[in-house]
Symmetry: C2
């Protein structure tokens, strides 16, 4: 069997340092009664999510990976832990625990885990500086970032230092929806299913339109959930680019040309739509499952087969994204 | 050749009545110097769009239809004319001019035109009452509506009387993006290409989630631009519906089951994505071109062929949507 590399799965450390902010902003913590297998994540005083040992226990994860045929998990923080709403230094303290947890899991089983860390992107210069030590001191392959940071999509000029450093260091950037700006104006039940993919798509569109992919051609950037609602936006942007002579000369290449430089995960819940993404970004779609959460993709190998592309193509895309040796 | 029925193309009357509001809200007007072929639409004092005789001249339209192989145009108002921001009675006065213009074009050439009118949906009871006279007095097949009305998506309970009347009268409802609520938080250049399809998709998702399609099973409702960014949202909603036992029992059928009841136009600018929509809503996708605007679909027959479905399937979907005889 060809390898299956799951680039979208999340980790929560079993504990966090004491809140250094005095409660001025939501600091993450993990509380538990029966701490062996169950716990609850709090953001400040607010209960955020019930979790279990799949979030922190490498042996439990490897057993599940074996059951699903997953060769390698690329561990990333539960997105809420990105903590952009904390003062940057406090963020760094919380993220240090997250990054060290992921790094230690990878160091113990480098045959089964690789890691993406996190940086305080609310301070892009600080985030840029942190990338080097995540790579050299912790052996991480890249970072997970939110689709927007405190209300600004990643195409905003403030993030240029971060993208310059990510390209220079060869650190992969994995974008995940977080506190959506757009798409919230629907019923509360619908918001998780609509606002997240909308925010991811608008983030990707903002990066294309702002020329980030033009200025950093070697940046390796991937989007969770297949870029969310990205594909139909790209088609419309492509037509608009042609109809407006490149948006009045502002964008040298066409949106589809930039879309082919993006990586996308496979977590789109529909085989035919996944096949469409493999046409939009050939060789750039990798497996993502959202393990261990509610909307996790079950039977990942069978799902990839629905798209009609070989599993080896998804593994090769993951290896390219992460800078891992192929084969 | 099989018929080509273009369900998405717009009309602007050559003149409007005097503003009855005293300038308190943007009243539509058409100003021109060389009025034979060129004009400009104003909303209040704001220049909105330069138009030409394609917007009002049936002979010019028919010549273009013949060149493109379009058999029948289903005329609808330029969306900005929907005028939801006017007091309802003022809206009705502006819309009466729009509806009469469309009806007269249809009455002159019923072999080449059918018509969708407009109702003051900011007053859903009034809008519901107007539907009957649009059908009986003007011979219109349905109405065009905005994706949101003054910031409320169409799944909002306030619109129930309108949908009940549309189903009872057998009037088709064609949804077009208008003043998007969501997706504006991107660069101004990107907004027209991203915010419109996002708003259309969230409108459709809100209708599904609110149970409108459950309560009005015979409602014929179509979405411009292929539902915007709808397909990836439907896939995620479908998975969420399964994972949450029907959103905790609130939605009896699955989102994909409701999606198969929607009509969608073909204006998605990508043949492979169009093919995907024909799988999502089999027999429910009809041709739409956005004639006569900048992002108009050229060579419509060739574009439909890219999707791999026969042109007759798109024509049959249009006939079903409009209640026209088949064949």
């Amino acid at each position: 069997l060809t390898p299956l590399i799951d680039v979208h799965c999340h980790v929560v450390p079993k504990s966090f340092p004491e809140d250094p902010t005095g409660g001025s902003a939501p600091w993450p913590s993990v509380r538990c009664a029966a701490c062996q297998t169950k716990a609850e994540v709090f953001m400040g005083d607010r209960a955020f999510r019930a979790i279990d040992d799949r979030s922190w226990d490498p042996a439990r994860r490897i057993a599940d990976m074996d059951a699903d045929g997953v060769t390698l998990q690329v561990l990333s923080p539960m997105p809420e832990l990105l903590s952009y709403w904390l003062p940057p230094e406090a963020s760094s303290a919380a993220l240090a625990r997250v990054n060290e947890t992921i790094a230690s899991m990878v160091q113990a089983r480098p045959d089964r885990f690789a890691g993406l860390g996190a940086v305080p992107l609310q301070d892009p210069e600080l985030a840029a500086r942190d990338l080097g030590s995540l790579k050299r001191d912790l052996g991480l392959r890249g970072v997970e970032v939110g689709s927007n940071v405190l209300g600004a999509y990643l195409g905003d000029p403030r993030f240029e230092p971060f993208f310059a450093a990510a390209e220079a260091e060869g650190m992969a950037v994995f974008v995940h929806a977080l506190h959506p700006i757009s798409g919230k104006d629907v019923s509360p039940m619908l918001a998780p299913f609509a606002a997240f993919p909308v925010d991811t798509a608008l983030c990707a569109a903002s990066l294309i339109m702002a020329g980030v992919l033009e200025r950093y051609p070697n940046l390796r950037i991937g989007f969770s959930h297949g870029g969310g609602a990205l594909a139909p936006l790209i088609h419309r942007m492509e037509f608009g680019w042609s109809a407006t002579k490149g948006f009045d000369g502002r964008l040298p290449q066409s949106p589809k040309a930039y879309a082919r430089k993006l990586y996308l995960d496979s977590l789109v819940y529909d085989g035919a739509y996944l096949a469409h993404l493999t046409e939009l970004a050939p060789g750039r779609v990798f497996l993502g499952t959202d393990y261990p959460y509610l909307i996790q993709q079950p039977h990942p190998r069978a799902f990839l087969e629905e798209a009609g592309a070989p599993a080896s193509a998804f593994a090769a895309a993951a290896q390219s994204f992460l800078g891992l040796p192929h084969g």
